[in-house]
């Protein structure tokens, strides 16, 4: 029961965090009317995943191991691409928000409108296939044992409770995010999303290593499985939020760093620039006589 609960919690967290932050962002930036687009993306992803799971379980054809890895891997890379794009898009329109330039926001939202659906779809769909297969396995187990063996719906209930918990955690994060002040909101959620995305990249690399498309599956940078068991509470939370794997290969670790360092740097620089003009907007120009053009620009 507990084990299945933790699985549901982990997969639920992985899927819901990105969605929660996107919704919080739209609400904070006074674009609540765009929120339904995100739910539309989520709905499409859940529907497709369930249909897919049902088809693969009851249909005439199954999905081979290689195909599962390949689909999971490519969706992960796409998802990261979009999340990264969203983070910078949010950071840029944050500038517009703080100087109250409505026109700029709307122009930015024009570009982001369709991508909102896609980001939500990918964030959920990436985990959806895996979770759908798990849920179908659970229902099958329930029907099989109903025919006269021991436990019945316990595994399914456990997993469902886990997902519900993930949604509650997501909601709490959402409430917390709404209470932050604007610049803190952008910094924290943006930085958090970058860490999530880096975890997804590393996880995708691990999948490709398992599929033998990339080498080095057995060259571990560290293995803390004994301290942080993957099935423990801590392991579940770290995996569910940051995609942290207790046994990480060098390639995964390298890719994680190679993603986080430049992206975080660019992101923080953008945030700092956003904060600067709002205080410097007051006429503080003639500090340097060497740059008279700056007052005209």
């Amino acid at each position: 029961m507990l084990a299945n609960y933790l699985i549901g919690l982990r997969e639920g967290l992985e899927a819901s965090l990105v969605v929660v932050i996107l919704v919080a962002y739209l609400v904070r930036s006074d674009r609540r009317r765009l929120v339904p687009r995100i739910w539309a993306g989520v709905a499409v992803a859940v529907g497709v995943s369930l249909a897919f799971g049902a088809l693969l379980t009851f249909g005439p054809r199954g999905l081979s191991f290689e195909a599962q890895e390949a689909i999971g891997g490519s969706l992960s890379i796409l998802a990261v691409g979009f999340v990264t794009w969203m983070v910078f898009w949010m950071a840029r329109s944050a500038r517009g928000l703080s100087s109250e330039l409505r026109g700029q926001i709307d122009r930015a939202a024009g570009g982001g409108r369709t991508s909102l659906v896609v980001v939500a779809m990918l964030a959920v769909g990436r985990e959806g296939l895996e979770t759908a297969l798990f849920l179908w396995a659970a229902t099958q187990a329930a029907t099989r044992t109903a025919q006269g063996a021991t436990s019945t719906v316990a595994p399914l209930a456990g997993a469902a409770l886990g997902i519900v918990t993930a949604v509650i955690v997501g909601y709490l994060i959402y409430r917390g995010a709404l209470r932050l002040n604007l610049s803190k909101f952008f910094t924290w959620t943006g930085a958090f999303l970058i860490l999530v995305a880096a975890g997804v990249v590393a996880y995708g690399v691990h999948d490709l290593q398992e599929a033998r498309i990339l080498p080095g599956l057995n060259n571990l940078a560290f293995d803390v499985s004994d301290t942080i068991a993957p099935t423990s509470w801590l392991g579940t939370l770290l995996k569910g939020t940051l995609n942290f794997s207790p046994a990480t290969t060098w390639l995964e670790a390298g890719v994680w760093v190679a993603y986080v360092v430049p992206v975080m740097f660019l992101f923080l620089r953008q945030i700092r620039r956003n904060n600067r003009p709002s205080t410097a907007a007051a006429p503080s120009v003639p500090a340097s006589p060497a740059s008279p053009a700056s007052s005209a620009s």
């Binding site: 084990a3 933790l6 054809r61 081979s64 099989r144």
Partner: protein
């Protein structure tokens, strides 16, 4: 604007297309497992192979199966989350896995398995080495109809190990040779020349498969085309065994020596790196053995290859060894297909080697110029006697 305006639509289309392609091609496998039970080698009549995993056991219902699509139904009867892995023979490469099998649940692993040895493992708690057992996949695979894929894979593996070893020794030897040559230690360089080149000659068909490297490294002066620059082993050979009547003014200068020697070493490094990525098919190996014999017949037996150093018999021996290793690697396959042919080839190899052994001197061989016409004729006959059955090897292995 650092970001494109509407990246969404194309990206979605791309994702869908990729998924569709995957499903349409290799991605989907039949949900109906191949009935392995009616062949009497394990598996159940329906639903493939079952795996019952608990916290300290991993019971697989069969220890072997016929190659093709295998379905493992993994049930977690324990209390911890578990994973099930199918590893290839080396125990580390993953052929398939299912993660997140919660207590009480059954999940399915579908893999397309080639013949060979595998290891199954359940990992309760999703960590550690897991509870492992051997699993054998029998049958003929799909790549070579009628041929035993496992034997062919093993043959390719043996030959690959040989080629890798030889190209490694070639690189080490070339470094020594180049160092001596550039330092002006020409006696040492002459001593190293033939033994180092033997590593090249043993794997010549492989080296020749890189069309750009072979002429750069092994071109003879006689085969030089109009306007082509001569580089490689034989250029240095001529310099080391400078012909008596040739004008000294035409000899390489020291900077030229350094340049061509460095070039040779760089090309060898290149070869070494590229060989590491090669995969060998049985037909390439069989044809390669025949090509090596042809090399002997057209170059070594005639004394044309090493026209300045006259070390042709070293190359001769190396070509024969390379062909012999390719044949030996394929021998188990030949034994199942055409044992008579295998015996003939074996005998002729032995006879040729005996003929060649008469010209050994010390660690190496006599100079080609010491051979009489009759002796050359005799060697040539032995080569031809082997070349004929060897030319039938490819067909025997593949059909």
């Amino acid at each position: 604007m650092p970001f494109p305006k509407r990246p969404a639509a194309p990206a979605v289309l791309c994702a869908l297309a990729a998924t569709t392609v995957l499903l349409a091609s290799a991605g989907c496998t039949s949900n109906e497992p191949q009935p392995s039970a009616d062949r009497g080698d394990g598996g159940r009549a329906k639903g493939g192979i079952t795996v019952s995993a608990s916290d300290d056991t991993c019971a697989v219902s069969a220890t072997s199966a016929k190659s093709g699509t295998l379905v493992f139904e993994v049930t977690n009867d324990g209390s911890k989350v578990t994973e099930f892995y199918l590893y290839r023979a080396d125990g580390t490469a993953i052929a398939g896995e299912v993660e997140n099998i919660g207590p009480g649940l059954t999940r399915r692993l579908v893999v397309r398995a080639q013949p060979g040895t595998y290891t199954t493992a359940c990992k309760p708690g999703m960590s550690g080495e897991g509870i492992r057992a051997r699993f054998t996949v029998t049958g003929s695979g799909t790549a070579n109809a009628g041929a035993d894929q496992r034997l062919l894979d093993q043959a390719a593996g043996r030959y690959r190990a040989y080629v890798t070893g030889e190209v490694g020794k070639l690189l080490g030897g070339t470094k020594q040779f180049v160092t001596a040559y550039k330092a002006g230690e020409y006696d040492r360089a002459r001593e190293l020349y033939a033994p180092v080149r033997a590593h090249w000659e043993r794997i010549e068909p492989v080296a020749e498969s890189f069309g750009d490297l072979d002429p750069k490294m092994d071109l003879r002066e006689a085969d030089l085309a109009e306007g082509q620059t001569w580089t490689g082993w034989h250029l240095l050979e001529k310099d080391l065994w400078w012909p008596a009547g040739a004008p000294a003014s035409k000899r390489l200068t020291d900077p030229e020596r350094a340049k061509y020697a460095d070039q040779l070493l760089a090309d060898t490094r290149d070869l070494h790196a590229r060989v590491a990525t090669l995969k060998y098919q049985p037909d390439q190996m069989a044809n390669g053995a025949k090509e090596l014999l042809d090399e002997v017949a057209t170059g070594k037996v005639t004394g044309e290859e090493e026209i300045w150093s006259h070390t042709d018999l070293y190359d001769f021996q190396a070509n024969v060894e390379g062909a012999r290793v390719a044949f030996d690697s394929l021998r188990p396959v030949v034994n199942t297909k055409d044992p008579a042919l295998g015996r003939v080839i074996e005998q002729r190899f032995t006879a040729l080697q005996k003929d060649l052994d008469r010209y050994r001197r010390g660690d190496g061989f006599v100079s080609y110029t010491d051979l009489s016409k009759a002796q050359v004729k005799r060697l040539s006959d032995s080569v031809n006697a082997l070349a004929e059955p060897l030319s039938r090897l490819t067909a025997a292995v593949l059909v």
